[in-house]
């Protein structure tokens, strides 16, 4: 399967996760080393955040192939596989996300693609691509 288009996670999101996580980790490390009986486990939560940031920096949130698209928004969120011919409608009424109504297992489902989460410039390009696929 040939990749037609792919859209990465927005840099602002990745930076917030990475640098925010590193900042809090340093703060916690100093606190653990200076305050008596300071538990170390909150550091684990921050390490997960940094891990998610690293994972997000190298992957595509939306990948469009010849006949279908793959959407995976977070490490533990479900994978959405959508055939272009199963797309019922694209709802652009909300500025914050694109709602894709599609058929899966005979039922209509809705996938909300949050624009702030996806790289800049993806909005127009992805909508144009999906509309083109719907027509053809």
């Amino acid at each position: 399967m040939e990749v037609q288009k792919s859209y990465k996670v927005a840099k602002s999101t990745v930076n917030a996760q990475l640098y925010g996580g590193i900042g809090v980790a340093i703060f916690l490390l100093v606190a653990i080393l200076t305050i008596r009986q300071m538990p170390a486990y909150p550091l684990g939560f921050v390490l997960v955040l940094i891990g998610v940031g690293i994972w997000n920096s190298s992957r595509s949130a939306v990948t469009c192939f010849n006949d279908y698209m793959e959407v995976k928004l977070a490490p533990i969120s479900s994978l959405h596989l959508i055939r272009y011919r199963d797309i019922v409608r694209l709802d652009q009424s909300n500025k914050k996300y694109l709602a894709i109504d599609y058929l899966a297992d005979g039922k209509e489902k809705t996938l909300k693609l949050p624009w702030p989460f996806i790289e800049k410039g993806a909005k127009n390009s992805l909508i144009a691509f999906l509309q083109e696929q719907q027509v053809t």
Binding site: G44, F45, V48, K72, S78, L79
Partner: protein, 94 residues
């Protein structure tokens, strides 16, 4: 659920539980961990015997108790579900 992450996480959860047990932590914490381990075991069992989706859900619920290290197991279970979904999707496409 034939994923290395799942088995690695089960070993980590067991080690964590045994460490807490030997260190004399409060009983409530130990009880919660036992519950998490039971959910993990039930998840693995159900995924093999009945439904992969339900089994993965149970396994993930058990991993929540062990957060943040439980993330490894959550990732493994999710990966298994995604692989199964991908397999069904491609079969339908052909």
């Amino acid at each position: 659920m034939n994923n290395a992450k799942i088995w690695i996480s089960v070993v980590i959860h067991l080690l964590l539980f045994l460490t807490l047990l030997s260190e004399g932590y409060p009983d409530i914490l130990v009880a919660v961990m036992i519950l998490g381990l039971l959910f993990n075991a039930a998840g693995i069992l159900v995924s093999y015997v009945a439904s992969l989706k339900v089994g993965s859900g149970l396994y993930i619920a058990g991993c929540v108790v062990f957060f943040p290290i439980g993330v490894i197991g959550m990732l493994g279970a999710r990966q298994t579900l995604d692989d199964a979904r991908r397999k069904v999707f491609f079969q339908e496409m052909q």
